[in-house]
């Protein structure tokens, strides 16, 4: 299968479009026109693994091969970078901790239950960060708390479950937090402590999959940061509809700092916190309490 020469095929404009459309129809992830070079580089290793001589052959493989579904997942994994680290965007986390958590504590005082969703969690840093914030708060110590992390990439989920991280993932983590929430494992790596890991569960989920989203419990807050950048406008609308549906009325949606809901309808209301802007699913008309989960 594998070729012996050292040349690598170029991706034509047409091959780029065919592959881009194929990926888009699968998961709504849009590779922009100016990203042909990136797509070419990221998919080269896949061609090498499969012994495909060029990108047309690779496209045919994705269309026809018995293993096409597995390969499509591998292609999507290659195309979506998984750049994340612990305690990313600290001002938003501060606002969440100081302003939203007290509200959620009050709202859920009766059920003493809290559900957070890290949607597009990549290798788990954000989900564990949320668990660490809650742990630090102490006020939820005897609550039923769960942080749920999902991603479309099975590979990064495996990394998330392993919970071992290197210096790059810890570049915004203070020595104090490092001491309290991680254990050294050697090779300049650390592992998230078991009591934090116990608060977090992970699952495989395509954010565009409406049926699959039914498996996600109703959430009090969703962190979906730096994920929308991969979607086009139509896919964003759909994802937002699904996220809205998975939030309890009055639940919060937190996006990345470079993202907003401009031109995406107004299914959410904007909430001005002291330290940040977040979105909220409006309460149901005439019903201010939580709907059943």
């Amino acid at each position: 299968m594998a070729r012996f020469d050292d040349s690598r095929p170029e991706m034509s404009a047409e091959e780029f479009r065919l592959l881009r459309d194929h990926v888009y129809s699968h998961c709504g992830i849009l590779v922009h026109e100016d990203m042909k070079f990136v797509m070419e580089r990221r998919l080269w290793p896949r061609l090498e693994v499969l012994g495909a001589p060029d990108f047309s052959a690779y496209h045919r493989y994705l269309r026809y091969d018995a293993n096409r579904h597995v390969e499509l997942e591998a292609a999507v994994e290659s195309l979506t970078t998984h750049e994340t680290y612990f305690f990313r965007e600290p001002s938003q986390l501060k606002a969440f901790r100081e302003e939203l958590l007290p509200i959620l504590e009050k709202r859920n005082a009766r059920t003493r239950r809290l559900r957070l969703w890290s949607a597009g969690c990549s290798s788990g840093e954000e989900a564990y960060t949320l668990a660490m914030l809650l742990k630090d708060e102490r006020r939820f110590d005897d609550w039923d708390v769960e942080v749920y992390g999902t991603d479309i990439s099975r590979r990064v989920l495996a990394m998330a479950r392993r919970a071992e991280y290197g210096p790059s993932a810890l570049r915004a983590t203070s020595a104090d937090l490092l001491e309290r929430f991680f254990l050294p494992t050697g090779h300049a790596k650390v592992r998230v402590r078991d009591e934090v890991r116990a608060m977090v569960s992970f699952g495989h989920h395509n954010l565009l999959d409406e049926a699959g989203s039914q498996l996600v419990a109703k959430m009090d807050a969703v962190f979906c940061r730096n994920v929308m950048i991969y979607f086009d406008q139509a896919a964003r609308r759909k994802v937002l509809r699904i996220l809205r549906d998975r939030l309890v009325p009055g639940g919060y949606l937190l996006l990345g700092h470079s993202e907003n809901l401009l031109n995406l309808g107004a299914d959410f209301e904007l909430v001005h916190l002291r330290g940040d802007l977040v979105y909220r699913r409006p309460e149901l008309p005439g019903l201010l309490g939580s709907e059943p989960r």
Binding site: F4, D6, A13, E48, G51, R63, H187, A188, P282, E283
Partner: protein, 658 residues
């Protein structure tokens, strides 16, 4: 705490607007009333609703919205109306152009702003005319909008404004020209650099000029005391690097290098710029690092790859940092972010020497699968015999086997004996069938006895491996093993026999491949179809024709391609296959047409799939005569998709010369 609390009543009004019956009475007025709601969400929903109204009434809606723009004191409603107008597109053009003549300058300014947001070429002429407006604020808005709308007239008008006495107008014109990527001549921009208020924008425009004199002026900016100015110059150098030829890039580098070497803190400045929030500044910093060639910046350069768009520049910059840069990257690999590591590993392929084997092997222990493939490639380029053993080990892993195979081929170029010995040892202890293929290719004829032995192995994976590769070493032995493999009980071995038979061909190939075309295993059948085409077994044409309408698109495509290779495509068969629901089959048909099939290509210019239309245009461009020109021209006029348009335009150009 929350200054914008939602309420059930607000939610009810919002839902009511969203659920409006599109056939309902008085819809426009209900939505216009919604524009005046106290809640921004409701106003937004109303604006969206107005944009969705049916086309025949769009111009009336636009006129009505323009009236809302005139409601002073209703800021929320006016902004929502502007949003709706911008979303209406062409329908809003007429009413907005009319509004440009309104007596109230506030209204004229609104009109200019929204026309800019429309970005319609039809707005260019009226906006150019509106540059003569008596009110300065209106003129500035018009100038900004021309920078969005674009066009030749807009650019010329903006260029004229550069000589205006009003600094605001000069600034907006300069920014507009930068947006449109239409720089005025260098002397004009140089004159503007004298004005501190315009300098940053002038730098932007300078970056659009691929001239060394512009580089010199930009490098002047690098020495500025002001960080904002330095960053503007750096960003412009990044832009310029994308617009110069290779020769000009050399000159650009020399000028930048001279400047940076004179700056005592150049390294620190570049390191800071590589971490800038602004992507353009980071791109410029990469140009600076490449020119300076400072290998100590390799790690921050790799980190710029967190921005996908800069991957190409990161790789070329790392490539400029040489072996020393490669060593810096290898030492820091564990500390890099995931995208930076991917870029670093990619760059390392060209930045390794024999001393890199150990750190590359350490990297293999923990790097992600896709990165390991590139690390493997780098190992093959180390020219070190020590790389042979780890590479042969990697043949066992299906993810890295392909890369390891190629890397061993490259490595054999510098240390063949070590590679062969390691492979032989691996095959003798049955480490992995993948080693068989590499051994045969690197080892040649001395490997034949081993291949014969493997072809009788109890494990079908070894039999298949031997059959697959024997023909590359010796045709006779290859055919003998392939023939036996065609009757093997294991499908992978039969497939290997079919493949080998296809490559080796011969007068008996068709007869030998016949059973494989009806094999119980669909994969073997698919391979057999391809093998018939490759071997030239024209006696199997009827079997292939029966498959061109097969519902399995892969099988049908393979059959069309095989028939084409045999030179046995019939126009009737092509016509039938061209109606296959799978566009890949239709494209295979197009690649097979010639002569009388051209009429079919003409008809496929109207196919529902863009890639089929593009393929049809390419076929006509290559093989068609002047008689096809009219049809391709008509298709070009009707085509809206950019890729088939390009193929059709090329075809028209080629056909016009015939």
């Amino acid at each position: 705490m929350s200054r914008q609390q939602g309420s059930p009543a607000e939610e009810a009004r919002y839902r009511a607007l969203q659920d409006l019956d599109p056939r309902g009475d008085n819809l426009v007025e209900v939505l216009i009333a919604g524009l005046h709601d106290e809640s921004w969400r409701v106003r937004h929903a109303a604006a969206e609703g107005l944009q969705r109204l049916s086309t025949p009434s769009s111009e009336q809606v636009a006129t009505r919205l323009v009236r809302v723009l005139g409601e002073r004191g209703e800021t929320g409603a006016r902004n929502a109306a502007a949003e709706a107008l911008a979303g209406l597109g062409l329908a809003a053009l007429g009413p907005l152009v009319k509004l440009l003549g309104h007596v109230d300058p506030d209204q004229r300014k609104f009109a200019a702003d929204i026309l800019g947001q429309l970005r319609r070429p039809e707005a260019e002429a009226p906006l150019v005319e509106a540059l003569g407006d008596a009110d300065l604020n209106v003129r500035v808005s018009v100038s900004e909008s021309l920078g969005r709308v674009g066009g030749e007239h807009a650019a010329r008008a903006l260029e004229r404004l550069l000589g205006d006495s009003e600094p605001l107008l000069r600034l907006s014109a300069l920014e507009g020209l930068a947006n449109l990527k239409r720089p005025p001549p260098l002397p004009v921009v140089e004159a503007l650099l004298e004005d501190a208020r315009l300098r940053r924008s002038a730098f932007r425009v300078l970056g659009l000029l691929p001239e060394v004199a512009a580089t010199v002026r930009l490098c002047g900016g690098l020495t500025s005391e002001l960080r904002s100015m330095r960053e503007a110059a750096l960003a412009a150098l990044g832009t310029q690097a994308t617009r110069v030829t290779a020769e000009q890039r050399g000159e650009q580098d020399a000028v930048i290098r001279d400047t940076l070497r004179r700056l005592p803190d150049a390294r620190e400045r570049l390191a800071r710029a590589l971490e800038s929030e602004d992507v353009a500044v980071r791109a410029g910093a990469l140009v600076g690092v490449a020119a300076l060639g400072d290998a100590s910046l390799a790690v921050p350069v790799a980190e710029v790859a967190r921005e996908d768009r800069l991957l190409r520049d990161v790789l070329s910059t790392l490539g400029r940092l040489g072996l020393e840069g490669g060593r810096a990257l290898l030492a820091a690999m564990a500390d890099l972010s995931v995208p930076a590591r991917a870029a670093a590993v990619e760059a390392l392929v060209d930045l390794v020497d024999p001393s890199s084997v150990t750190p590359l092997c350490a990297l293999l222990e923990w790097a992600e699968d896709d990165l390991r493939g590139v690390v493997v490639r780098a190992l093959g380029r180390t020219r070190s015999p020590e790389a042979a053993s780890p590479l042969v080990d990697l043949l066992r892993d299906s993810v890295t086997a392909g890369a390891a195979t190629r890397a061993l081929g490259v490595l054999a170029g510098s240390c063949r004996a070590a590679v062969v010995a390691t492979l032989q040892e691996a095959v003798e202890r049955r480490a992995t069938p993948a080693a068989v293929a590499v051994l045969a290719r690197v080892g040649g004829r001395p490997a034949l006895p081993l291949l014969r032995r493997l072809a009788r192995d109890v494990d079908p994976r070894w039999r298949a491996a031997a059959v697959d590769v024997a023909g590359e070493v010796d045709g006779g032995v290859g055919k003998e093993l392939a023939r036996a493999a065609l009757a093997d009980e294991a499908a992978p071995v039969r497939a290997a026999g079919v493949r080998a038979m296809g490559r080796l061909g011969g007068s008996d190939a068709g007869a030998l491949l016949r059973p494989a075309l009806q094999d119980e295993d669909v994969f073997v059948r698919r391979v057999a179809v391809e093998a018939v085409g490759e071997s030239g077994a024209s006696d199997r044409a009827a079997d292939l024709e029966a498959l061109v309408l097969h519902p399995d698109g892969a099988l049908a495509t393979a059959a069309v391609r095989a028939l084409s290779r045999l030179g046995l495509v019939e126009p009737r068969m092509l016509r039938e296959a061209s109606e296959h629901p799978d566009p890949e089959v239709v494209k295979a048909v197009l690649s097979a047409v010639s002569g009388e099939g051209l009429a079919l290509a003409v008809s496929l210019l109207e196919h529902s799939h863009w890639d089929v239309r593009a393929a049809a245009a390419r076929v006509l461009g290559e093989s068609g005569g002047a008689e096809c020109l009219g049809a391709v021209r008509r298709a070009l006029e009707a085509e809206t998709d950019v890729l088939p348009r390009q193929a059709m335009a090329d075809a028209v150009a080629r056909l016009s010369r015939r």
